[in-house]
């Protein structure tokens, strides 16, 4: 097996970025999957992408632009879904189409070549810098602390938000706090990992973990393991078989999901 690529700094950075980004995205994935807001990840990723493009046009920091747009997406989806006039799918769909439209608009307005913009969309895990790795490490740590410190609140809000409120927990604040955390993780991961890959790493490991356990704690752990395993196996596979890294990671994480679904004890559970 040819592991000589490990000698290169870009590969070491990619491996670390994959581990930190994979684990953090998978952990927030548990939130969106259990809160049945899976599509929120896509909407936020597109909002962050549009925000980065908008900031680039204005000559501002793309990260700040992403942050602003993704938090605005969260701020729009939350109350619209809360009002109960439609299920959460509808406002998420509206925000998604709006941000996609804005992204195309900003791409059109972007002067010069668009390679940088497309990098944001398709990902460039092999070009992650040391500073980006440090940022991803900080993000992964923050997510781990969030889950550990607020575990019982997360569990309560996932189970039933109204009930969490009824027992005297600040359920609304927790709910919005979690949505903002999802937005932040996606935004911070976007420039290093890419929009497509971020969405895969948010959804697939958490969905695979959801198939395998009835314990929320174990679900967080399994999802993080699957997230890291997807990126590492994907990077290894891509370097051995000379395939594009992002696409290989997507395929590996999908394979993990399919295997989890096939062996899921929950397949035998009938819907009541």
């Amino acid at each position: 097996m040819d592991l000589s690529l490990w000698g290169y700094e870009f590969m070491r950075n990619a491996v670390l970025a994959g581990a930190f980004g994979g684990a953090a995205c998978a952990a927030v994935g548990v939130l969106v999957v259990t809160m049945q807001l899976s599509f929120l990840g896509v909407a936020i990723a597109h909002a962050a992408f549009a925000g980065a493009l908008c900031a680039t046009i204005l000559g501002a920091s793309p990260l700040l632009g992403s942050l602003g747009f993704s938090l605005a997406a969260v701020a729009a989806v939350g109350p619209l879904a809360d009002r109960g006039e439609f299920g959460p799918d509808t406002p998420i769909g509206i925000v998604f189409s709006l941000t996609l439209g804005l992204a195309f608009l900003f791409m059109g307005l972007l002067p010069g070549p668009r390679a940088e913009a497309l990098d944001l969309l398709w990902g460039s895990i092999l070009t992650v810098s040391r500073a980006e790795v440090a940022l991803l490490a900080g993000m992964a740590l923050a997510v781990a602390l969030l889950v550990i410190l607020f575990f019982k609140e997360i569990q309560a809000v996932i189970f039933h938000r109204e009930l969490a409120r009824a027992v005297g927990m600040p359920a609304q604040a927790i709910h919005y706090g979690l949505l903002i955390a999802v937005g932040l993780v996606i935004t911070v991961s976007l420039p290093s990992i890419g929009g497509l890959l971020v969405f895969t790493l948010v959804l697939n490991p958490a969905a695979a973990a959801y198939q395998l356990t009835y314990s929320l704690k174990r679900m967080f752990l399994l999802a993080a393991v699957f997230g890291v395993a997807s990126t590492w196996a994907g990077l290894l596979g891509s370097s051995l078989l000379r395939l594009p890294s992002g696409a290989t990671i997507v395929l590996v994480s999908t394979a993990i999901f399919i295997a989890a679904a096939a062996f899921s004890p929950k397949r035998r559970v009938k819907k009541r």
């Binding site: 259990t34 609140e153 189970f159 039933h160 005297g168 559970v269």
Partner: protein, 255 residues
């Protein structure tokens, strides 16, 4: 209302002229009610009478459009603070729980203690003992580790009751706690509510759609119809065939 004040026990719940609307649907049309501390009040009435809405006015989940609500000495007309909600247990009508939900019966019952425990703190051993106590007491000891979504409707109802009682509430709000249960479970649950109500000296409000036996256990019943209080008084006086026939309409589904 006046009689409750005249007897002079401290009043746990005091609602005056409450109006609640969900967009164009008016759910409560000027309801006034006083519930003395320690009373077990039954609330009966047909579908759409506003029974559930009245409960949510008490725990602040429902917003008053007009009128006033005072609960445990606090005016909650403009919202019920979390600290007060901790003192009010709530068993809503059968929740639909995803059978794949990665949360166990024990986790759900423990939720009752979480408001009291507060942010950034873990439940203390005393809280865990209380969780164990109520899980055993509602008869779910053998199922405590099971995913909550795998339980039958009746078992989920027991878990909901245990969760509300772990809260050690001063007021207990029960929304049709015996719906969907077989006769034996129904009687067990009612007995459990009765003993908890007595032991803890709680003020208990129990909505029951059509279960006359349950209502007969209450100190007092109020009958509701179309968002208004239709009648109130002792159970024996109101739970008569002709009264219920008039409340529910001629077909008399009040049994």
């Amino acid at each position: 209302m006046r009689s409750a004040n005249e007897q002079n026990p401290p009043v746990a719940i005091f609602v005056t002229n409450a109006v609640v609307a969900y967009r164009e649907d008016v759910a409560l049309r000027g309801v006034s009610l006083a519930v003395p501390r320690g009373e077990w009040l039954g609330i009966l009435g047909p579908n759409g009478a506003g029974k559930t809405t009245l409960l949510t006015v008490v725990n602040g989940l429902g917003r008053l459009l007009r009128g006033r609500a005072c609960v445990l000495g606090r005016d909650i007309s403009r919202g019920c603070p979390a600290a007060l909600r901790r003192r009010i247990g709530y068993v809503p009508q059968g929740l639909r729980i995803d059978p794949r939900m990665p949360i166990s019966v024990r986790d759900v019952v423990r939720l009752g203690a979480c408001g009291r425990v507060g942010l950034l703190r873990r439940p203390r051993p005393a809280d865990e003992r209380l969780v164990d106590f109520w899980i055993e007491r509602v008869g779910l000891g053998a199922l405590a580790g099971r995913p909550i979504g795998h339980l039958s409707g009746g078992e989920q109802q027991r878990a909901a009751l245990a969760r509300a009682l772990v809260q050690e509430p001063e007021i207990l709000l029960l929304d049709e706690p015996t719906t969907g249960l077989d006769r034996v479970s129904r009687e067990e649950i009612l007995e459990l509510i009765r003993s908890a109500h007595r032991e803890r000296g709680m003020t208990t409000l129990m909505v029951t759609h059509a279960h006359r036996k349950a209502a007969a256990l209450c100190d007092r019943v109020v009958l509701m119809k179309e968002g208004r209080l239709w009648a109130e008084g002792p159970a024996a006086a109101l739970l008569r065939e002709e009264v219920l026939d008039r409340l529910y309409g001629a077909e008399g589904d009040g049994g």
